[in-house]
């Protein structure tokens, strides 16, 4: 078999970060090629380079596609050559029908007038190919996620696809839908469609992939041929996580005190689909001075768990109890959760954590205005004093606390969010991806702040997709998968291999 695609020494640099470092990827004609790696390893970036999202010239290295040097200028350009990418978040218009979605931007029309007969006939053909029996006029939002995924594939097929890229196609699918999708992939392979699949689910990778390439920290680690000898999940996991844990985490005295927070039998359903249970019977404990981690892949339900505990900010039909220092507390609204001693530092600081157009000091006092006011009247001086205190303590780099937070770098913005919650005086802080999108230096500072908090006897519950971070910071780690805790490891027991194997063998 000849190579359909060869990506040679691809290097992609973002300001301050090397996202891809001389990556090589060879995909043979007619195979299914799996791309695996941790969150943030660079898989999606690589696919964006391939599909022209990052156009030729913005990266170094060469892409050879179908025997030619390819220099795609945008997605439309790569699609014209038969390279089609299906993103994790589906790109369908929910209010339109299947047929309308399939030919969106590519309508079967003459002089701007749509030929519905032709459209529907083609749609039926395509739907048959992907094994869907719904009528072309069915609205997409009436279909389940699994079927929507198939519609996406049908849409790709309508464009004469030669290389189909699927970015975590089964992440949101149920078991049976996943199986159907994998079967379809194998069938498309029979028809000669070359495919690249990005997936975290190693059993699925093993089932469909002919070749597996592991990417880690922006570089290719290994490429394994499944046809030569069967690939074991162990081998993949080893390559995925096998990096040395450098001294990136400040030392901390580990001593856990009394039980601070206890969550019992926590169950949560999806806010829109009341029959879909997202969190299953979670029990967790955080002790005073303890840093507890929650590990898991994206979509495991970690953020949903945290937000549902914090004032029922996510989900519905929530059941279970929360105890603080042995007494059951009411956390049914955010103000009550704050009163009970909780704080939640969101993973999405720009849209959920900050008012970007307001100054630093306004953001810092937002969750505890009572602390800088008397009888509902703000004390400007006290407010500025508080903000200045946190600026010093957390080393927020800014000319002054009157600066709008939109002007700050990611790390400094995160420190503002942390300041806000520290000023609210919580007992337990839930930190959701506290170091996402910030540079190494600021990360180290944030770790220092976390250690300081635990030294003060606060409890910290830390959600992170970066396993080294959890291993470096936590006293105990819960492993979460598909909405349930599938394991609990102490700092001594935990390793990336153990966590990953708990997730993938669940």
């Amino acid at each position: 078999m000849t190579a359909l695609l060869e990506m040679r020494a691809i290097t992609k640099t973002f300001p301050g970060v090397k996202a891809l470092d001389t990556v090589n990827l060879t995909v043979r004609e007619g195979e299914i090629h799996a791309l695996v790696g941790e969150n943030g390893a660079g898989k999606s970036t690589l696919m964006k380079v391939l599909s022209g999202v990052y156009p030729a010239g913005t990266y170094e290295g060469e892409i050879h596609y179908a025997g030619q040097l390819a220099q795609f200028t945008d997605i439309a350009d790569s699609e014209k050559r038969g390279v089609i990418i299906i993103h994790q978040e589906l790109a369908l218009v929910p209010q339109l029908s299947i047929a309308e979605n399939l030919f969106l931007g590519n309508e079967r029309a003459r002089a701007g007038i749509i030929n519905w007969r032709e459209t529907n006939r083609r749609t039926e053909e395509l739907l048959k190919k992907v094994g869907l029996s719904d009528p072309p006029s069915a609205k997409v939002d009436k279909l389940g996620v699994g079927k929507q995924q198939l519609v996406e594939i049908a849409k790709a097929l309508s464009k004469e696809v030669r290389l189909l890229i699927l970015d975590e196609p089964t992440a949101a699918l149920s078991e049976s839908d996943s199986q159907a999708l994998l079967d379809l992939m194998l069938e498309l392979k029979e028809q000669g469609v070359t495919q690249i699949i990005i997936s975290h689910k190693l059993n699925e990778v093993r089932r469909v992939a002919d070749t597996v390439t592991v990417i880690r920290d922006g570089s290719t680690v290994s490429t394994m041929d499944a046809r030569a000898n069967p690939i074991t999940e162990d081998a993949i996991v080893r390559d995925m996580v096998g990096r040395s844990m450098a001294d990136r985490y400040p030392e901390r005295q580990r001593r856990a005190g009394d039980r601070l927070m206890e969550v019992r039998n926590w169950n949560v359903f999806h806010p829109l689909h009341s029959d879909r249970q997202v969190i299953h019977d979670v029990n967790l404990t955080v002790r005073a001075g303890e840093v507890v981690g929650i590990a898991g892949l994206m979509g495991a339900g970690r953020t949903e768990l945290a937000m549902s505990i914090f004032g029922r900010s996510w989900g519905q039909k929530i059941t279970g109890s929360v105890e603080m220092k042995g007494r059951e507390v009411d956390v049914s609204t955010v103000p009550r959760a704050i009163d009970a001693g909780l704080a939640y530092v969101t993973e999405d600081r720009k849209s959920l954590g900050l008012v970007l157009d307001e100054p630093i000091q306004t953001n810092i006092t937002m969750a505890n205005l009572a602390g800088v006011s008397q009888g509902g009247i703000l004390n400007d001086k006290a407010e500025t004093r508080v903000a200045e205190d946190y600026r010093r303590q957390l080393n927020i780099r800014t000319p002054g606390v009157f600066q709008k937070v939109v002007n700050l770098s990611g790390g400094n913005q995160q420190k503002v969010v942390l300041s806000k919650w520290l000023f609210a005086g919580p007992e337990v802080l839930i930190l959701d991806e506290p170091t996402r999108g910030i540079d190494v230096g600021a990360k180290f500072e944030i770790y220092g702040i976390i250690n300081e908090l635990s030294a003060q006897g606060k409890g910290v519950l830390m959600i992170s997709s970066e396993m080294p971070e959890l291993l470096g910071m936590c006293d105990r780690i819960y492993v979460m998968n598909e909405g349930a805790f599938v394991g609990e490891l102490t700092a001594g027991e935990a390793s990336q291999e153990r966590i990953m194997s708990l997730i993938v063998t669940d």
Partner: protein, 413 residues
């Protein structure tokens, strides 16, 4: 990210030039300058009619209900919503007042309280759907606009209703009696070479100017102490100086006519209360947070639904107050009262610098915006420009103000 940080660190607040400051604060000065330019322009083309005492008095009375409603509208818009129903609600409350007083013979005080409560209830009814059912405020208040327009027609049976007793008329047309001895006024009048001087009005102007001077100086000192971005001293002097002089000038003009209109006191007191409320209270702060980023506000423990609800209740109460002022001024309630007035109010708020997307805007801006529109209306009427051109010009002014905003923002970025 790293780049932005470096730039910020290198940019100490002192090192900014005067020009740089002007670019960043163009909006506030622009509004003040625009108001002055418009007034000077009309003063010249109307041969001094604009600033005659009687016209100044008129200008204040004519715009009082717009200003009163702009206070509430600013809060609604800062919270990220809009209220299209205020004109209709204003008309409805005027009709209610007329029915109560003229037909039922209810006392003025009882009527006033009942009208304010009714306004609050109307605001609450609309706010309920907006806050707790998340129905867009545009739709809910559009419905309210139609409903209350119809309700006033029904209440008045299509007829005008009046006149009001003298007590009620005083709300809009009364003047505060001079508490100083008449001899003082007469003496001053002779000194200044005018017919008469209302000492109270003049004293109010001087005291208000003094207060502004004192407060501005204090806050400047405080800002300096906390290293906040400093307004260049020349700007500070010009801004405060012009504001104070204008205030004294306006009140001097009033003092040579009939003194302080009651409605000016109402307007002034309400403006001060709302300016304080938005800038200095926790609830005011929370409204800005709600409009700036509702999700972040909610996750910070702010009861966003309740705040939205209350913003509309407040708007209803102010629309009711404006409705009474309007009815009292005309001395009758008419089914057409308040027609299309919501647009003037909304325009005033946007001209005053509020942002359509919420979270940005100041009370003083809204009030100045209302007067800018008022001066345009008044000046053009004196010049005898037809209502057709007036509408076109007002529309263009609104558009220009918003374009100016957007342009300014993109220049800063």
């Amino acid at each position: 990210m790293a780049l932005a940080e470096q730039r910020d660190e290198g940019m100490a607040p002192e090192s900014r030039g005067v020009m740089d400051y002007l670019v960043h604060n163009m909006r506030e000065y622009g509004l003040l300058v625009a108001l002055i330019l418009v007034m000077v322009f009309f003063q010249i083309v109307t041969d001094g009619t604009l600033l005659r005492p009687v016209n100044v008095t008129n200008l204040l009375l004519q715009n009082s209900y717009i200003v009163i409603m702009a206070l509430g509208m600013l809060i609604v818009i800062v919270s990220g919503n809009i209220d299209l129903s205020v004109g209709s609600v204003m008309g409805f409350i005027g009709a209610l007042a007329a029915v109560m007083i003229v037909e039922w013979g209810a006392p003025t005080l009882v009527t006033a309280v009942a009208c304010l409560v009714a306004g609050g209830i109307i605001g609450g009814m609309q706010g309920y759907w907006i806050a707790y059912w998340k129905i867009p405020s545009f739709i809910v208040t559009l419905a309210g606009m139609l409903v209350f327009r119809g309700a006033s027609l029904w209440l008045l049976e299509g007829q005008s209703l009046g006149p009001f007793p003298r007590e009620f008329q005083l709300i809009a047309n009364g003047f505060v009696p001079d508490i100083f001895p008449a001899a003082w006024g007469a003496g001053l009048a002779e000194l200044l070479g005018v017919r008469n001087v209302n000492v109270l009005a003049l004293a109010t102007g001087l005291i208000a100017a003094g207060l502004i001077l004192w407060m501005e100086t204090k806050s400047r000192a405080q800002n300096r102490a906390y290293g906040m971005e400093q307004e260049p001293y020349s700007f500070f002097l010009a801004r405060v100086g012009i504001t104070c002089l204008a205030l004294i000038f306006i009140l001097y003009k009033l003092s040579t006519f009939r003194g302080l209109p009651n409605v000016l006191i109402t307007m002034g007191v309400l403006t001060i209360i709302y300016a304080f409320f938005t800038a200095r209270t926790t609830t005011g702060r929370r409204i800005y947070a709600l409009g700036g980023n509702e999700k972040a506000a909610k996750l910070s423990g702010i009861r966003t639904e309740r705040l939205t609800f209350l913003a509309f209740v407040n708007m209803g109460v102010l629309a009711a107050a404006a409705g009474m002022v309007f009815a009292a001024r005309l001395n009758s309630a008419t089914p057409k009262a308040g027609f299309a007035l919501e647009l003037d109010v909304i325009a005033a708020v946007f001209i005053g610098g509020a942002s359509m997307s919420g979270g940005v805007g100041k009370i003083v801006g809204a009030v100045v915006g209302a007067f800018l529109m008022g001066v345009l209306n008044n000046g053009m009427s004196i010049m005898g420009i037809g209502i057709d051109y007036q509408q076109v010009i007002k529309g263009l002014v609104l558009l220009a103000a918003v374009i100016f905003d957007v342009y300014n923002k993109s220049r800063q970025a």
